[in-house]
Symmetry: C2
Subunit: 584 residues, 2 copies
């Protein structure tokens, strides 16, 4: 059932668009993170003729979350562990491999990653490809020759750190963060000099202001974000040192404000009884000056996070007509189930409306900015609490949304999951899981077999869904929206789909070789034609049951995700393959 | 350069065709092994519109040689080790998995296989799927439910045995053979009762007549094939017990004559000095009664085989106008470089003409039936002999040919390789390589970068190629020919191609995800449309450099094949994916 969208004549969210050069130089394409392609050859009328133009095997069986990049008629693809970087020559028939770069990460890193051995993609800047390896190296590779320019180790697998996120390169700085919130790491964002690979600054998520790079320029909007060393005082003792807040998600950048935006992950361990306090600055969005790393504002979505409502999700930078003016805003569909619309210059929450079924909280108080928890809806030690929604992966996880300035809608891929859980005492041992909770996930409201996922088209001005599509499995792929008014996304059971951006009507689908959790992109080929590319290859946290061959009978496996995905192995098989589609 | 074929008005080879039911129940489709599809929806005019209809990942990265089967609107696919059997439901969009059967073969079998851990496909018969696992089990699986019906172990990995071949089911008997010619096994063909899995008879390749099932009905055509216990007397001492002659290739069946045909493999070790004599019955075609296993005739293509000119290649059963009459013939493109046309009732060689460049022999004497070796063109101990052609994989290897009764031509996929070698003393240790030769392969005559493979359309009546296509890499896939006069084949660098069966003109190609060494098939879908399917996934002996990640600098790796394939890793990546193509 697809509700019709009235022709959007009223006020709409928008962005300042530049002409599309047909390239795709970073996973989100543009700094504002909207994943909008200006190409319109493929449109709502002809998309039904779309068909694979060529395909490529990545040689890797685990979950493929990466976005392929397209620069100077070359496609760049980075695989999950062992993080091979392929350069494919788009000027030749069938796009043969130009070169491949193998960083040979340490095998032990695979055992440290929480949620499959994924990689979310590389970033292109000024003749180089930058990306992170699972074993905590940032590498710079010459985009023409495939030769390594530098390689810098920034983390330690023995401390539970890994790296899965895609760097953002801003003003000659490569911004990267660590993973390991489930292993008692201390989260950080680092800036490396793009030329040399030298670390220029490090902004920790927890700890004293000096480490968090909170100084005189820091002006949070809300009162309870003000005060000295909150990254220490909101934790018992020295637990902030192993308190998580890793930085494994998305960064966006506003060049006019010269601010980067990103979210820090959940506090650790999950068992909240071990960390009374707000646990700042976990589950928090930071706005920082990329030159110095200084925090300009911060906003904690989920203080004292009870549910792994990690804050790393994407922030799309859009302009929104708001009470008679236009606000330079940030749209952040958070794991806790609310879509936050915030003033991106001040950190003020303009609205926070639910996009999924929520039983754990009853809203966000716009005065104080505080999330309103519901009493008793959290897992105590030795007590099973049921029907908490959303589940730990949240209303949505890392899978990135897109936004079309043509429709004014954001296309949010996400899940519909709830959970039961029981707290456990967690003991910290460096480099091992530090979670303290037994979790069993399950489908949210609706038909459990056919409604574990949704694609929601969100209207930021009216603060409500314009339309929704339900999917059997969590929609764990990114979305892409084009000037042809087509939204592309993939399903975990292996369908790559095109829907009408205006009303969600399905226009086309193709069955790829494995479930899709990758990020679709669009580009103009050397022949002037529009192509759409996506990497298939099921896995990630949600697909661990297939990619890791887990036993469906062990319902707490994969931190409880297996319980909700027991039927996935009947629906798809693992294996990484790039699909490139075009019109005939 | 494609020479035009004059409209074939003269006499032509043929077969008796039955109406095509649109299924594909064994790798060669029909008992005569011609791999001809009677479907003609896809033809030389419209094939250029062919495009993938759906795809499926096998979850396995090694070489995929298997043919998919199509029975009762279900597709059956068996993977390389670990030999998973998938049933895909063709009546549902995207052909989801109906069930999968996992035999869980012993991991150690992988180290015993000579030439990648491949499987050439299952066979369907009477409601069951039969196939071999790498660790020497024959399994029968209920085609509807995926439940194992029986599982019989017929060989021993500790003795160097593995199984890679596709069974042939004839009159309620499942005919299977072993691999391990490079490990000092003793080759055999066994018949198992299709109902119970009980072994009904075993026909060894070497040893006393009683073991070879040579008895009163045995009437070979040539004098030197007559005599008692030649399987013992043509070997020094008891070396026949470890003399190879495995049965890892193709069987065909003539119901009128009630004879099965198959080739036994090369003698071991490769170093010929260790086994003076004809080494019967290695490199030999047998005609046997499937009811009892009794040999009716035999013909040894390469007596005292000097070059691993293993005799397992396919024998296509065709009828050929010959000197005023029609002969019930068998067309056998052998590894030694000659296409044999034989009377399939008597074992008489009607013609044996070269289809590749040959420097090791100067022809087959049709009087005596004997291959004429050229003096000095073999590898002695401590002496390097150069430019021997064809190389050990032969003029062609296991990759099966097809035949069209419409054109009267056989479509032979093959290689153009020569080699240098030096003999070494081989010591027999059970379950370990027993070869005794250092081999380096290289391209045969022609441009070495662009001509290591060929597709030859062979005219059996005129005993010459009608046309040839050259390919950069060995053509290691099977061929398929259809009533639409289209020949399909794949290349090791990942192109699936359609050419005109009449003249070899290329009509269409598609770049799949990995090099193709599988067997293309055609079928009619539940929607009445014609589909063409092939599994991509480079590997096998020729592709071991990619599938096994071998070092290109070690030129004797993969028994010398790596030397000729050093550039393959730049051209393709590994990974098994099924492609199903149709017209829009
Ligand atoms: O706290 C962390 O450091 C961390 C890291 C990762 C990761 O690096 O993939 C995930 C998560 N947390 C996480 O909470 C989560 O839901 C998640 C899903 C996935 C995935 O790839 O599907 N990774 C991660
Ligand atoms: O002698 C044997 O038992 C034996 C077995 C196999 C096999 O089982 O794959 C091959 C060969 N020999 C062989 O000679 C050969 O050329 C070959 C190629 C391949 C392949 O899969 O690409 N297998 C084999």
């Amino acid at each position: 059932k697809v509700p019709a969208l009235p022709p959007a004549s009223g006020p709409r969210a928008s962005v300042t668009l530049e002409a599309d050069d047909g390239q795709w130089t970073r996973p989100s394409k543009t700094y504002d993170g909207i994943r909008f392609s200006g190409l319109d050859q493929i449109n709502t009328t002809n998309v039904k003729q779309l068909r694979p133009a060529w395909t490529f095997s990545t040689s890797v069986l685990r979950g493929h979350e990466e976005a392929p990049l397209i620069v100077n008629n070359t496609m760049y693809l980075v695989t999950p562990f062992p993080n091979i970087l392929y350069a494919l020559d788009l000027t030749q028939p069938g796009a043969p491999v130009k070169w491949q770069y193998e960083p040979k990460p340490e095998s032990a890193a695979q055992g440290v990653a929480c949620c499959d051995v994924v990689n979310r993609g590389p970033a292109y800047d000024n003749g180089r490809i930058y990306y992170n390896t699972l074993d905590n190296h940032v590498v710079a590779v010459d985009a023409n020759t495939g030769k390594e320019v530098w390689k810098t180790r920034v983390g330690d697998i023995n401390m539970g750190e890994t790296m899965t996120m895609a760097p953002l390169v801003v003003k000659g700085k490569v911004l990267v963060g660590n993973s390991g919130g489930e292993m008692g790491v201390r989260g950080w964002l680092k800036a490396l000099d793009a030329g040399s690979g030298k670390v220029l600054w490090t902004a920790y998520t927890t700890g004293p202001d000096a480490d968090v790079l909170i100084g005189p320029r820091f002006k949070p909007f809300y009162a309870d974000h003000k005060g000295k060393d909150l990254g220490v005082s909101t934790w018992p003792g020295t637990t902030w040192k192993i308190g998580g807040g890793s930085v494994w998600g998305w960064l966006t950048y506003d060049p006019a404000a010269n601010l980067v935006y990103y979210g820090a992950a959940n506090p650790g361990p999950w068992n909240p009884g071990q960390r009374p306090g707000d646990n700042k600055w976990t589950s928090t969005i930071f706005a920082r000056d990329p030159d110095t790393g200084e925090a300009v504002w911060a906003y904690q979505m989920s203080p004292h996070d009870l549910h792994d409502y990690d804050g790393v999700n994407e922030s799309l930078l859009i302009d929104v007509p708001w009470k008679g003016t236009v606000r330079h805003a940030l749209l952040h569909p958070d794991r806790n189930g609310y879509v936050y619309l915030m003033d991106r210059l001040t950190g003020e929450v303009l609205s926070a409306e639910p996009f999924v079924h929520i039983t754990t909280t009853k809203g966000v108080d716009l005065k104080s900015g505080r999330l309103q928890y519901i009493e008793g809806m959290d897992a105590g030690i030795g007590k099973v609490t049921r029907d908490m929604c959303p589940a730990p992966p949240g209303g949505k996880d890392w899978q990135p949304s897109s936004f079309s300035p043509r429709t004014g809608l954001a296309y949010i891929p996400h899940q519909n999951l709830c959970y039961d859980a029981e707290g456990l005492e967690a003991n910290y041992i460096a480099g091992t899981p530090y979670v303290g909770m037994n979790v069993k996930m399950k489908a949210g409201p609706g038909d459990p077999a056919n409604h574990r996922g949704e694609l929601t088209a969100w209207d930021p001005v009216n603060m409500r869904p314009a339309w929704k599509i339900t999917e059997s499995f969590p929609v764990w792929s990114g979305t892409l929206v084009t000037a042809g008014d087509v939204v592309f996304y993939g399903t975990m059971d292996g369908w790559f789909k095109a829907v009408d951006a205006r009303n969600g009507q399905q226009l086309w689908q193709f069955k790829v070789s494995s479930g899709i959790i990758g990020q679709p992109v669009a580009y103009r080929g050397p022949d002037g034609k529009q192509y759409v590319a996506v990497v298939a290859g099921v896995g990630g946290w949600s697909g661990a049951i297939v990619a890791g061959g887990l036993d469906a009978r062990d319902s707490t496996a994969a931190l409880g995700f297996v319980a909700a995905m027991a039927d996935l192995p009947q629906k798809t098989t693992k294996g990484g393959t790039l699909y490139v589609f075009s019109l005939p």
